[in-house]
C-alpha cells in the first residue's frame, strides 16, 4: 500500500459513514504513545499544533502553526492547500465554520489526545462533529511501503546507536551523558527524533528516563533505543552489563530472549495480538515467573510504532486486533525478574504473509563492557 491508496481508503470510508469533511488535529507535541492524524492524512510532521481537513472529493487543507512553517508544509504536501496561522483553533474554524453552518457532516480525529485549551474550543465550536478516530487510525493499522522502508532505516540507525553505546559506556559517565551522546550520534545518521530511555543500576525496577546518576561497575544498563527516521519510529531494547555478568544473569537473559522468540514465532497473520503476549507469558510462567507477567511488573509485551498511527496497539492480553501483513510493531518481553531486576530485550518486526520478520540484523543478546 502506498500513501495515496491509504487516502483513497479513508475517503471511501468517509463516504460509507456519510462524513463530508474530516478534521484531524494534533498539538505538535510528538510522543511515541500519541497517534497523529495529521501525519496519517498528510504525512506532515508539524512544529506546532496543526490540522488536516480532508473532503471526500480528495481536496485537502493543511492548517499549520507557526504561520511561517507554511512554506515547509507546502513542500511536503504539494497537493494540499496550506494555511499558515498562529492559532490552530482559529485556523480550523476559519476553514470549517461556514460549512458547519451549512450542515456539512463533519467528523474529527485526534481530539481526545489534545490539550484542554485546544480540544475544548474545537468541541464547543463544532458541537455536531463526531469522532472519526477509528476510521483514521484503522486505515493506518498497516504501514505504507515508505513507512516500512523508513522503519528499516530507523532500525539500522538504532543498531548503530547500540554499537556506539557498547563502545563508549564506562563507569563514571552519567546516564544523561551517555543518552545525550547516543541521541546526537544517531542524529548524525539521520534520526530526526529519538525516544531513548536509558538508565542503569545493579537491580533495575524498570527502564526509565536518564538522570545524572553515574554508571558504576556491576551496573546493568537498560536502553530502549528508538530513533525516528522521516517520522517513522523503530525500537530495539537492549541490556548491557558494566563488568562481567554473572551466570545467573546470563541464564535469565537467555530465558527472556527465548520468550521473545516464542512471541515472534506466534505473530502470524490472522491471529489476535493477544496470542503474541500469551506466547511470551507461557515461557516465563513455565519457569515460575507467572506473577511477574502482570502489573506492576509488566503491562505489555510490545506496542505499535508511530508517529502517525500506533496501531496495531499493545502486545497485551486484552488486544483483540487481528494481525495483518504490513503491520509494524515491537515485540519486547522486557521482564522484571526478582533475581536480576528488569531486563530489556526486544525487536521491531514487520508482519509478512509468513509471519513476523525482525527488522534487526542482530537479535538481542546480553552484552558486557569493561567495568
Amino acid at each position: 500500500m502506498n500513501f495515496q491508496e491509504r487516502l483513497t481508503n479513508i475517503r471511501a470510508r468517509m463516504r460509507d459513514e456519510k462524513i463530508a469533511l474530516l478534521v484531524g488535529v494534533h498539538d505538535g507535541a510528538h510522543f511515541i504513545e500519541k497517534p497523529n492524524p495529521v501525519m496519517v492524512l498528510s504525512g506532515f510532521k508539524s512544529l506546532g499544533p496543526s490540522a488536516t481537513l480532508l473532503a471526500t472529493d480528495g481536496a485537502m487543507t493543511l492548517v499549520v502553526t507557526p504561520h511561517w512553517d507554511a512554506a515547509r508544509a507546502t513542500q511536503c504536501c504539494p497537493e494540499a492547500r496550506v494555511v499558515g496561522v498562529d492559532n490552530v483553533v482559529e485556523g480550523v474554524l476559519g476553514e470549517v465554520e461556514g460549512r458547519a453552518a451549512a450542515g456539512t457532516a463533519i467528523a474529527t480525529a485526534g481530539l481526545r489526545f489534545l490539550p484542554y485549551d485546544i480540544a475544548s474550543h474545537l468541541s464547543f465550536a463544532l458541537p455536531g462533529a463526531r469522532s472519526a478516530d477509528k476510521l483514521v487510525f484503522d486505515a493506518a493499522r498497516t504501514k505504507t511501503a515508505d513507512e516500512i522502508a523508513h522503519a528499516r532505516e530507523a532500525t539500522r540507525i538504532a543498531e548503530r546507536g547500540y554499537e556506539h553505546l557498547i563502545a563508549i559506556a564506562r563507569p563514571g559517565m552519567s546516564e544523561d551523558e551517555l543518552a545525550v551522546e547516543l541521541k546526537w550520534f544517531m542524529k548524525t545518521l539521520g534520526a530526526e527524533d529519538n525516544f531513548l530511555l536509558l538508565c542503569a543500576g545493579p537491580h533495575n525496577r524498570a527502564v526509565q528516563p536518564s538522570t545524572g546518576r553515574k554508571l558504576e561497575t556491576g551496573d546493568i544498563i537498560l536502553a530502549e533505543i528508538t530513533p525516528s527516521y522521516r517520522g517513522q519510529l523503530a525500537q530495539i531494547c537492549r541490556t548491557v552489563v558494566l563488568g562481567k555478568p554473572s551466570q545467573e544473569l546470563a541464564d535469565k537473559y537467555a530465558l527472556v530472549v527465548r520468550a521473545m522468540d516464542e512471541g515472534i514465532k506466534a505473530a502470524v497473520p490472522g491471529i489476535a495480538m493477544a496470542a503474541v503476549c500469551r506466547a511470551i507469558n507461557l515461557v516465563l510462567e513455565a519457569e515460575g515467573y507467572g506473577e511477574y507477567c502482570y502489573p506492576p511488573h509488566i503491562r505489555r509485551r510490545g506496542h505499535g510504532l508511530g508517529f502517525a498511527s500506533i496501531r496495531p496497539g499493545d502486545v497485551a492480553l486484552d488486544n483483540t486486533t487481528m494481525l495483518e501483513p504490513d503491520m509494524v510493531f515491537m515485540i519486547h518481553p522486557n521482564q522484571y525478574l526478582p533475581e536480576t531486576g528488569y531486563l530489556l530485550c526486544g525487536e521491531p518486526v514487520v508482519l509478512t504473509e509468513h509471519g513476523a520478520e525482525p527488522l534487526t540484523q542482530q537479535k538481542a543478546a546480553l552484552a558486557a563492557v569493561a567495568g
Partner: protein, 369 residues
C-alpha cells in the same frame, strides 16, 4: 520560537541546589500565596512539552509523562507523576520535593487537592491547566466540585522578575548557546555541509552541559526555516540558523546569518539590531523599538519568522503564546530576546538576534549575533 518538540526530553535536568536553592522556590511559592490570600491549595500541571509553571515552582521538568504538583498553604508539597510507580525513581533527582507519587488520573488529583486544603475554606488554584488532557481536566473538576481558580497568568507575572539565581542560569544557558553558535560558524568556515554544521553546534552545546538544544536552519538563503529532518551534505551560503539552548531549565536563543561574503541584508539586519538594542531601557515602549526596526528595514520587509515576535520574553519556555507577549514597555530586570528579520521577498533575507537583560540606563548583553 516554536521548534520541533522531541518525543522524549534527553539531557541533564537534575535539580542542583547550588544553582537554584530551595529558598528560591520557597520565595516563589510564598509570592503565589500572597497573590491569592484566600487560596487553600494549588494544583500545578506540566507535561514534557509545556511545563514552565511546574518548573518554576518545583524545578521539575517531566521528561516522559506529565506531572502534577499540589501545594497546600500549610506547607505540604507533593508531586504526582505519570507513567506508573516504576517511573518515580527517575523523577526524584529532578525536584526538591521528596513526596512523589504515581499519578492516578484527574479525579484522584481533584480529591487529593481537597484533602490538602486541610480544612481551610476557599477554592483550589489551578495552574497550567490549559495543557491538561480534556478528560483529565473534566474529572479533576468533578472531584473538586467546582471550577478551580486559574492562577496561570499570575504565575507568569511572577516569572518576569529574574533573581540572581535565574540570571546565573540564563548566563550558563547563554554559554551553551554561544558554544553552539561558534561551533556552527567554525564548521561552516571549514566547509561542512548544513546538517554537519548544525550537529557540530548541538554537540558543543551538549559538551557545555545543555539539557536541551533545538535548531532550525534554512536551505534557501534564509527565506524559510526548517527543523532537522534528515542528514544533508549540501553546503549553503548564506546559512541562516536558529539555535536555542537550555541549561538549568532556562532557555536562551539566537538567530545568526552566516556568509562567506558581505550580504547587504545581513549588514542591514545587524545595524537595525544595534539600533534597537541601543534604544532599550526600562520603561521604553516596546512599540517604539518595533518602530525603529520597521522604519529602518525599508526597502526590505520584516521577515515572516519575526514579524509577529520581534521582542519576546524568554526563560523557562521557548514559546507559550500569549505569555511571551513583551508587554507595553521594557521592564527593569526582565530578559528579552530581540529579533531583527528582514527580507526583500526574493533573494535577500537575514535574521539576527540578541538576548538582553534590561537594567537602569540600558541593557546587559547575554548573547548577540
Amino acid at each position: 520560537m516554536l521548534t520541533s518538540h522531541p518525543t522524549l526530553l534527553i539531557g541533564p535536568s537534575d535539580w542542583d541546589a547550588d544553582v537554584m536553592p530551595r529558598q528560591e522556590f520557597a520565595r516563589r511559592i510564598e509570592a503565589l500565596w500572597r497573590a491569592f490570600p484566600e487560596a487553600p491549595c494549588a494544583i500545578v500541571y506540566g507535561s514534557p512539552a509545556h511545563h514552565a509553571e511546574l518548573a518554576y515552582l518545583t524545578n521539575l521538568v517531566p521528561k516522559l509523562e506529565a506531572a502534577v504538583a499540589i501545594f497546600s498553604r500549610g506547607g505540604a508539597q507533593e508531586v504526582h507523576l505519570g507513567g506508573g510507580p516504576n517511573m518515580l525513581g527517575s523523577a526524584k533527582p529532578l525536584t526538591f520535593i521528596t513526596d512523589i507519587k504515581p499519578m492516578r488520573g484527574g479525579q484522584a488529583i481533584g480529591r487529593r487537592s481537597l484533602e490538602m486544603k486541610e480544612g481551610m475554606p476557599g477554592t483550589p488554584l489551578i495552574i497550567g491547566d490549559g495543557y491538561m488532557p480534556t478528560a483529565f481536566h473534566q474529572s479533576m473538576d468533578e472531584a473538586i466540585g467546582e471550577q478551580p481558580i486559574s492562577a496561570t497568568a499570575q504565575v507568569w507575572a511572577l516569572m518576569h522578575r529574574s533573581s540572581s539565581h535565574e540570571l546565573h542560569a540564563m548566563r550558563e544557558s547563554a554559554f551553551a548557546l554561544n558554544g553552539a553558535i561558534t561551533a556552527i560558524t567554525d564548521a561552516k568556515k571549514a566547509g561542512a555541509g548544513v546538517t554537519e554544521a548544525i550537529l557540530a553546534g548541538e554537540r558543543e552545546a551538549n559538551s557545555r552541559g545543555a539539557q536541551d538544544i533545538r535548531t532550525l536552519f534554512s536551505l534557501d538563503g534564509g527565506r524559510t526555516l526548517q527543523p532537522f529532518t534528515a542528514a544533508l551534505a549540501t553546503q549553503v551560503d548564506p546559512l541562516q540558523v536558529y539555535v536555542a539552548a537550555r541549561r538549568f531549565n532556562y532557555w536562551t536563543e539566537g538567530f545568526l546569518a552566516l556568509s562567506d561574503s558581505r550580504r547587504p541584508a545581513v549588514a542591514r539586519a545587524k545595524e537595525l539590531l544595534r539600533q534597537a538594542l541601543a534604544a532599550i531601557k526600562p520603561n521604553v515602549k516596546t512599540a517604539d523599538v518595533l518602530g525603529i526596526i520597521h522604519a529602518g528595514a525599508r526597502p526590505y520587509q520584516i521577515h515572516p519568522v519575526t514579524e509577529r515576535a520581534i521582542v519576546s520574553r524568554l526563560g523557562l519556555t521557548l514559546e507559550e503564546a500569549p505569555h511571551t507577549n513583551p508587554g507595553m514597555s521594557f521592564e527593569n530586570g526582565d530578559i528579552y530576546s530581540v529579533r531583527v528579520g528582514i527580507t526583500n521577498g526574493t533573494n535577500e533575507h537575514a535574521i539576527v538576534s540578541a538576548m538582553v537583560r534590561v537594567r537602569e540606563g540600558g541593557t546587559d548583553m547575554l548573547w548577540t549575533a
